[in-house]
Symmetry: C2
Subunit: 502 residues, 2 copies
């Protein structure tokens, strides 16, 4: 093995270990840390972040990468080595191309912006938040010009979360979704039948919810010897390494579906993390792919598997035994319909799978408009409400329920939203490929035999780490590029059935 | 402020923050980490330890300290600055004076030695452990000659835990304890009356034990906004900062005294940590003093306060309400006697306050003998058993219950044991000073008013951080140097009363 490459791996592993430590601190902060420790913890995190930055921008790393680039041309690396060199180079350039002043201003505004956003949302006062948004916009355009000068600024921001994806790819997909989903939602709204969902509300003892969620997470394949499950204000999947994957949830006394399906969602993320090829080493090629691929794994289990009739049929007995008073007059079929209702509403994070993409498209169009100058920050509340009316037929009564609802912009995260819907499309297309390759899948779900599904995902997706781009991966797994038709056909079939429209 | 000093403080704070991160990782490892993560965590810890070592041995830190030393002679620093410079210099010298080869060999043997010790203890086979002990002895002599060449090698090892304490100080104190405690224990053994302790065994629901322990920890003064309480295999007090102090305990179903008094013990450590003057900054002067002073704080609460009759009188009602079946035929006086029995036994960590010092003295005399060459590793089992017979009148039936019982030597920790007994002596002498200054103390304990006690400890001990040596501190707080007479008088009075010897 080339000495320069060995040096690179050592540097990358050091950065990876320190990032693992940082992840443990973040998890601890959300789940364990006493409230009084926030200031001391912030200092510890800042110190560690400084050291990671120092390592990631070490000129010696740059020299090492430059030499390897030269060598690369001369010799044929394996795909693993190629990927590590390529990813390391990209990270190094992204870290070193931004002037320190800009890094600091973005960090400072991210931290201050969150507080301003929280207050503005609480006060329903967009004008308080508008200056933050404007400043972020100009900082993120400048940032884009530094790190990825060959891309349009908004494309560069998308690229940060969704490598290789551009507006040129997203716009046709989203136009297609609008064309199909808006009429579908209107049809559903116009229909007189509505599934009964009353029994989903009630009293559900927390301890029982937790036992149920742990059992199903384990059934699906979460390895508790290499992970944990705890509580936090916002559910997430964190942890420091594929051998240490930590999911969280929150429990509402009045609703067990939320925590259960959030655990299944996070378990999907966790299975991806636990399935990474970490035995190769702690460097880029073993990391997970983009946000959308990660989201495809959580949505695969949450929607494709757990919101299916087969899953409901299998687990209904257990649900009934756990909450007999609540579910005594319901059967599995009615349960399945109840958890699959479609209803336009204001809040993205509470949206169902049919309306969710329109929430995302609305945000995508606004971000695109802000970056290309066709929209002004001042006009956003009005634009938001008009688009809501146009896409979902409803108008938020306040900005708190409208343009101010998401935390992303308060932290300067532009270009993140599309990943949610790309994830849904990937999940659906992966699932169709699985059905083709393993025609027993639905029968397996109906008897709770999830291991063939998990193994298929491990084999087809997880074990590749970051080796393939999402575009290569979907081609490899499904034999074609990302195609929204699968998602549209899935929704049409399912919701016609749920709403007895057929 | 001198620019060099500002530079020093920044460097020291960085090291302190990274050490805080390391403490969080250690806590997580004992309390939270999934079993499968041990290997990945070990790598993360090794990387972080490497960076801390790099910072602590940075030649620029050495230059900074050298300049400050020069400046020191020229100008009068405040005591805080003096202490920071002095401590930083000591740490720097201790880190840089040891050759890398020796550091690595000690680290390697520490890690390997623990496994060998565990197996040897399990197999009752001292001969398997003897080579580790021999190697450690020679490594630790070499280490001592590097870092503290002006001290005798065993004194240097003691100095690591108990700065400024030497055999010349310890031996007379320990001789005095032997002279008094051996006859006291014999008298107690010869007496026909024995307190009834049967009711301390039984069934004690874990949840109730935890609620009780949390309440008493809070009553004593533990600030749960700046700390946590969890479970672990071995109880400890950890955490990353005075605003993030984490104690642990373990619960046995058959005994509630063990967990309760272990929580009180760890709360004593925690109050010290929470009472540190962290508002000054994260540098040496705000750290805690030596092991013995730390132990004095845990033993102060565990023994002086919580094993007193006044404490038992105050809490007996609560104990009874918590465990009515177990305590129905007992009163507070009988409870007090039961938790204060004295009985020679083989295991140090289970020993009572009268016999405990003899376990420590035995180990001290063996370590001293090993270092001065008057004892050979091969002879330790025999020497151990002879001394046990001489001091406690009992002979361990196996080496597992004798010379192999402690983990310390498997990690090369020589010179640590004396701190336990010094801590007991300090605790008792501090308590006598408190009684003199606040004659209401016992009445306060009897009504559960602990805040004057905590405030006194905060004021007299905690808030000074590392500013004073233990020798200066005891002088300042009690008006005299460490004097074992207080401890001896306390034990004689208490145990005559408990055993109705008077």
């Amino acid at each position: 093995m080339n000495q320069q490459y060995i040096d690179l791996v050592q540097r990358l592993e050091e950065i990876s270990h320190l990032s693992g430590v940082m992840s443990t601190l973040s998890w601890d902060q959300e789940v364990m840390m006493p409230i009084g420790a926030s200031e001391s913890r912030a200092k510890q995190i800042a110190t560690l972040a400084g050291i990671i930055h120092e390592r990631a921008t070490d000129p010696a790393l740059g020299d090492c990468l430059a030499t390897l680039q030269e060598v690369s041309k001369a010799r044929a690396w394996g795909v693993t080595e190629q990927c590590n060199i390529h990813e390391a180079l990209r990270n190094y350039e992204m870290e070193t191309r931004v002037p320190k002043r800009l890094v600091q201003e973005i960090a400072e505004l991210s931290s201050r912006g969150q507080g301003i956003w929280v207050a503005a949302r609480q006060d329903n006062k967009f004008s308080d938040f508008a200056p933050v948004l404007k400043r972020f916009l100009s900082l993120k355009i400048e940032w884009a010009q530094c790190v990825l000068p060959n891309l349009l600024p908004y494309d560069a921001n998308i690229d940060l979360y969704e490598r290789g994806t551009t507006m040129a790819m997203l716009t046709p997909i989203f136009e297609c979704l609008k064309l199909e989903l808006i009429p579908l939602i209107n049809t559903i709204r116009s229909y007189s039948y509505q599934p009964d969902t009353v029994f989903l509300q009630g009293k559900f003892e927390k301890k029982k919810q937790e036992t149920l969620a742990r059992k199903i997470s384990r059934d699906i394949g979460f390895d508790f010897d290499r992970g944990r499950m705890d509580e936090s204000v916002h559910p997430f999947c964190g942890g420091s390494h594929p051998t240490d994957v930590r999911i969280t949830t929150r429990y509402a006394n009045s609703n067990f579906i939320e925590s259960l399906y959030s655990v299944i969602h996070e378990t999907g993320h966790a299975l991806y993390e636990q399935g990474r090829p970490y035995h190769l080493g702690d460097f880029p090629v073993t990391e997970s792919s983009t946000m959308a691929i990660h989201e495809s794994q959580s949505l695969f289990w949450e929607r494709m598997v757990a919101q299916s009739k087969f899953f409901c049929v299998h687990y209904f007995d257990l649900f009934y035994k756990t909450f007999p008073e609540n579910l005594q007059s319901v059967n599995a079929e009615e349960f399945y319909r109840a958890i699959n209702t479609c209803k336009p509403d204001f809040i993205r994070v509470e949206a169902d799978e049919v309306t969710y993409p329109l929430h995302v498209i609305l945000r995508y169009e606004i971000e695109r408009g802000l970056f290309d100058g066709s929209m002004a920050v001042e006009d956003l509340p009005e634009i938001w409400n008009e688009l809501m009316q146009q896409y979902l037929g409803i108008k938020p009564p306040t900005d708190t329920l409208g343009v101010l609802q998401d935390s992303h912009w308060g932290g300067g995260a532009f270009g993140y939203f599309p990943s949610y819907t790309l994830g849904a499309l990937y999940a659906c297309q992966f699932y169709q490929a699985l059905l083709k390759e393993q025609p027993d899948t639905e029968r397996n779900i109906a008897i709770g035999n999830f291991s063939p599904i998990k193994q298929w995902l491990n084999e087809k997706i997880h074990r590749h780490g970051k080796l393939y781009s999402p575009q290569e991966l979907i081609q490899k797994v499904t034999g074609e590029s990302l195609n929204p038709d699968y998602f549209i056909a899935y929704l049409k079939k399912k919701y016609h059935e749920v709403y007895q429209l057929a």
